[in-house]
Symmetry: C2
Subunit: 366 residues, 2 copies
């Protein structure tokens, strides 16, 4: 049911669509690069599968092509940025560059962004810090799908935390995780397969545990990491709240149940507090040698990585992994063999190609 495409072909197609929406070539290429990175790393829900969603938000006037994100206020190590209702895929790298620039100058940089939109995978932006020998962080809030511990109301997004940590001879450590027990993309896969979800992912409209992957659409909610109170769902709730506060409340973006939905057909929240604009993000960059010499750090982080890979495994056939290993292996594989797209995604992309008169590439193996 999947068709496989060459990475370069999909990148060119995606950039073409963004150019036809009105972005100039560098912007279009950057936005396509952010989206494709999700497909490459195996986070299929956040890649090309979302391209038509961005187009619909643009058609609905909720994303401005001529946006110019700007710094509203700053100090030597911090900045408050207004995304000017721009495409999150472009606002986020702009903001992360500001954080990196500040870290170059004063050791660390922290940027809170309001009035933005969905920014793809958080990991992309955090990883921008790696080439500078910095630790990078990226957080964002998102449309409410997750219920706080002991609640039946959807109040929080799957609010991801991404942190990228440079290493020496070893590849970098990259954490990129939703703060819910499972990301919504994983649920969508089960919905397509009509398969039951594992216990601990979802509750129904009355707050009862359920394995029905469609319960979310019927008034249910995703559960915070920890799933049940006795195994720490209050902790997942705390983490998601933290992301919402740093990304949403700190810059004056939408927060909690007032984060604007990604799907264009849902109305914007009507009762949002005044002055809370768009989706919010939070970025950080920490220069390693603002603490201790980078070489000494690299020696130790390489030891960390090797020691954890050598930890006694549960199953001898499956060695212990370090955060970022699965996504890096997936990226290497897909760069070589191409990116498989589900038929429904291919169909949506073909519709875009007709709508914009853009050339859609042939799959690698018919």
């Amino acid at each position: 049911m999947d068709q496989t495409f060459a990475v370069g072909d999909l990148q060119a197609f995606c950039a073409d669509i963004f150019q036809r929406m009105g972005y100039d070539e560098p912007q279009a290429k950057l936005a396509a690069d952010v989206l494709l990175k999700a497909d490459l790393r195996g986070i299929d829900s956040h890649g090309l599968a979302r391209l038509s969603g961005y187009v619909r938000l643009w058609e609905a006037g909720r994303i401005r092509v001529d946006a110019r994100p700007f710094v509203v206020h700053e100090t030597p190590s911090t900045a408050w940025i207004d995304g000017d209702r721009g495409l999150g895929l472009l606002v986020a790298p702009f903001a992360m560059r500001v954080a990196i620039q500040k870290a170059r100058q004063v050791g660390s940089g922290w940027v809170a962004v309001r009035n933005s939109n969905h920014f793809g995978i958080a990991g992309y932006h955090a990883m921008l810090a790696l080439e500078e020998e910095m630790i990078g962080m990226a957080l964002t809030n998102a449309s409410p799908l997750v219920a706080p511990a002991l609640s039946v109301e959807r109040m929080l997004g799957t609010n991801p935390i991404a942190v990228a940590i440079p290493a020496g001879d070893e590849p970098p450590i990259v954490i990129d995780m939703a703060t819910s027990a499972a990301a919504n993309g994983k649920l969508e896969i089960l919905q397509r397969k009509q398969a039951l979800a594992p216990e601990g992912w979802i509750q129904d409209a009355d707050g009862r545990p359920t394995r029905d992957p469609f319960a979310l659409q019927q008034g249910g909610a995703l559960l915070p990491l920890g799933s049940r109170l006795e195994t720490g769902s209050h902790k997942g709730y705390c983490l998601s709240a933290l992301v919402d506060i740093l990304s949403g409340v700190l810059p004056g973006a939408g927060f909690g149940p007032w984060v604007p939905p990604f799907v264009h057909f849902l109305p914007l929240p009507q009762d949002a507090p005044p002055g809370a604009a768009g989706i919010g993000h939070f970025f950080g960059a920490l220069r390693i040698d603002a603490f201790r010499p980078a070489e000494a750090f690299k020696t130790h982080i390489d030891s960390w990585i090797r020691r954890f890979r050598a930890a006694r495994p549960l199953d001898a056939a499956e060695p212990v992994k370090v955060p970022g290993d699965p996504e890096r292996m997936m990226e290497a594989q897909r760069r070589e063999l191409g990116i498989p797209l589900h038929s429904s995604v291919v169909q949506a992309l073909k519709a875009l190609s007709e709508r914009f008169g853009a050339h859609f590439p042939d799959p690698l193996h018919k």
Copy 2:
């Protein structure tokens, strides 16, 4: 079996012990304040129950009373501190003050500490930022008790994350959580009661799920937040790894399985990488008005708190809480009614009182 004591009486006793160990009065009072805060907030495992543990580390020469923590290297927004093998209860507030001072000057401050020791509850140090209208963060690594996802080896501590966020008219939000499914202190309570643990806290020496609270002593391990792979134990592992890397690897403290154990009778790890000293911490302070005006933030954070408290509860009798609510309520209650101590803790404190010739207070109700 518990006896209840007045807060001030326990504080005076605890400070007295620290003075008899050789600390001057302000140091002794600060260390007692940090320890008591754990008892006040209901984190009984990290309060007076640990006083004799600190004494034994001091007797074993693993804590230096004459330590003088110092800044090894700094930039305008960062510092690398050596704890000089001091008492973590004192090293941590010193380091947090450096972070706060930097945030005053350049918007944020970030401090990584090596060569320290256990610092009490992380929340105490994060909360120091609140009076400055800053967001405070405190992380620490700890003795290895937690297995990475898909491993049977204890490689990580319960590595807590604490974040304190100032509010306006509402009380502040305070997150203070272990990154394991359950903190070790909760397991100790079950051991005392000889009761089974909930599913999802522990695995045995072969990595099989178990409810036996003594499995940890028999080669088992605590599970990361998320408990099982399909409900996100790799995420809890990522969070714990992040804490270990920022607290341990970044400053050149012990990390992973090489973090020195808290109990004096376990030997220091022999095969630790050269240059990895003591336990490590990481602190941060973010000035609210380094992003946007504090008043605007306060209005929104108060809305956040009120909206989350008003979220539809699972059980009408139990309203949804905001992070920090349970601990704040506990503190108000214990300040008024006193602090209950388990008989085993009372016994250990009485032994200390004899050992040092210090007066141990009478309980409130005999």
